[in-house]
Amino acid sequence: MMKQVAANTSGYPSLLGRTTSLVVAVIAGVFLLHAVYVYSTARAEITAGIEQDVHESLERLSRSIAPFIESYSVHEYESLIATEMALKQHFAVILEDYEMGRILGQPYYLYGQLRQQNGQYRLFQERTQPVQHELAQAFYQASAPIMGGNDEVLGTIRIYAADDLLVAKLERVVLEELLTVLALALTLSALLGTVLHRSVFRSIVAIDDALRNKDAEGIPLQPVPPFQYRELAVLSDGINTMLESIKASREQLKLERSRLENIISGTRSGTWAWNVQTGETVYNKRWAEIAGYTLEELAPVSIDTWMNLAHPDDLQRSADLLERHFRGELAYYECEARMRHKDGH
């Protein structure tokens, strides 16, 4: 009689699930490391870009503004600065016009533009405390002299860059990188999962399915199916060979047992067996009948069942022989003993 035996494996983790999780974790880790690298690289590039923008603007403005200062075209250079501010989104630009300052009787005429939090530009013509405070927040600043045609210094241009643009750009880089990492990690994980499932785990599941269908003794009933991949084919062949070997051995054992049972039943022999280590004893039906009992009447059986029915004289001899066998003096234990019948004879 054969039956399916399902091993209690519900608490075991799924190899597919664990492998997929591991792969996703590894991919995410690798991409996160890449994201960190991209972030640091982008930060360095953006910072360099901001500084380069500042210096390019300085060069452009100092060159363009000089003729306007020389011609006292104040509005023209103010428009130029406003355009540069809007174009490059500098935090602040300050021009000190020494020529105009001479007219005003001051060290310089100051024209400044400051970008506010709402993105609008605010003009200022004095370095007041609030203006100084805001300028102190600048991330980077540089200045350049404005040279006239006769190499005299006409003024000074100062440009301030804020880090809000850096932060905004970096936030955008981080967001883009995270989205890229997420998309790539999910795509790669899905692809790897699909490939692993199709090439490996489906085969393992097929082996698992085949091995789950077992007989009463836990031996799988069906062979493991063949596989195209070498490693799995070797595994499958090995399992099937073992199963066939087990089945053949079991058939052989059954045959020998059947022969032994036939001999015992044919000679109407009473048999008993005692596992000295465990104390387990087995009496056959005929042994009980010879003593005048049924097995049910003798139950529960033990070595005491034999000892209670054995003749006291034989009992001592049996014990001696058994002791000698245990000591290795006898190759085997053989003893004829008389049993007392239920009827007393």
Binding site: S71, Y72, S73, V74, H75, E76, I103, L104, G105, Q125
Partner: protein, 326 residues
């Protein structure tokens, strides 16, 4: 203190102190005005200055006139000098529309109101802007030129333009109005040159090039009047006197005779004297707390042989600034 003295010293050559009529308006007693003018040597500005003086005197203001000689630096120095002297108001005829922005800014910082008379400004922080209707005046002038070309059968001829700087709002308006009239009648332009130093040589050279490069040229339009002689000489030297017409914006005293003789087809005569008077009136109303129109546009008189005699009394007073006229 040293700097102030230096500035006053520098400003002295360009400052004319014009004495006031002792019978002045009591409400304006001890009030002073400054007039910043691009170049007092140019008749147009001189007439405007006289109009300003006339009205300022009537209303009891003391007036100082500062000529920039068409230099931005002088204009700014004059602005600072006027501000430092504590004037109550500034009448400004800027050297350029963009230059006016700085003057207006300095005046605003000093809390001094400004009325702009002609040229215009690239900002609007002024009390009032007195301007000629340059667009309509130029359009009317274009119509008169087209009529003259048609009368001579020269409608297939071209018209050359010697323009004042197009950075000025009035320059742009003149060009747009004049070209609109030409386009409406299918008259082509030969080219446009923009004045930079307003010299005789410049006007002569631009006119000579227009004549040389355009055989079909039948008229030259000068957007300014003072260097008309350069254009006439170029026409004469090319041997095309009588074959190329001359038409001008603005006016010179001799234009009346030239229009009568036909040497000049027509002139779009601004009324600088009237503009000056209107500017002072606007400033006076502002200083008196009365509302003032932001822009006051005065007509340009399109003077042609056909209407010259009729317009003559008006021209004498509001264009040429002859005070004897009513």
């Amino acid at each position: 203190m040293k700097h102030s003295l230096v500035r006053v010293f520098r400003a002295l050559p360009v400052v004319l102190i014009l004495m006031l009529n002792p019978a002045s308006d009591a409400a304006a007693q001890e009030r002073t005005l400054a007039y910043l003018v691009p170049d007092i040597r140019i008749p147009f500005w001189d007439i405007m200055a006289r109009g300003i003086h006339q009205k300022a005197t009537e209303l009891g203001y003391e007036l100082s006139v500062h000529s920039a000689d068409n230099l931005s630096r002088r204009e700014l120095e004059a602005t600072v000098a006027a501000i430092d002297s504590g004037v109550d108001g500034i009448i400004l005829s800027p050297t350029q529309s963009s230059a006016a922005v700085t003057v207006l800014k300095l005046a605003e910082q000093a809390g001094i109101p400004v009325v702009i008379s002609d040229i215009g400004a690239k900002s609007d922080n002024y009390v009032s802007y007195i301007e000629s209707d340059n667009d309509q005046g130029a359009y009317n002038l274009g119509e008169l030129l087209v009529a003259a070309l048609d009368e001579k059968g020269w409608m297939d001829g071209t018209v050359g333009i010697v323009a004042i700087p197009q950075k000025r709002a009035n320059g742009k308006a003149r060009t747009e109005g004049f070209l609109r009239a030409l386009e409406e009648h299918g008259v082509s332009t030969a080219g446009i040159y923009q004045q930079a130093d307003f010299s005789y040589r410049e006007t002569y050279e631009f006119s000579r090039r227009l004549i040389q490069d355009n055989p079909q040229l039948r008229a030259i339009w000068l957007q300014g009047s003072n260097r008309y002689r350069g254009a006439l000489d170029a026409i004469w030297e090319s041997g095309k006197t009588g074959q190329i017409l001359l038409i001008c914006f603005d006016a010179e005293p001799e234009f009346l005779a030239m229009i009568r003789s036909g040497d000049l087809v027509a002139a779009g005569m601004q009324q600088p004297f009237l503009m000056g008077e209107t500017a002072v009136e606007a400033m006076h109303r502002h200083l008196s707390g009365a509302p003032v129109e932001k822009v006051q546009r005065l007509p340009v008189l399109p003077v042609h042989r056909s209407n010259l005699e009729q317009l003559l009394p008006t021209i004498q007073r509001t264009v040429l600034g002859n005070r004897s006229q009513p």
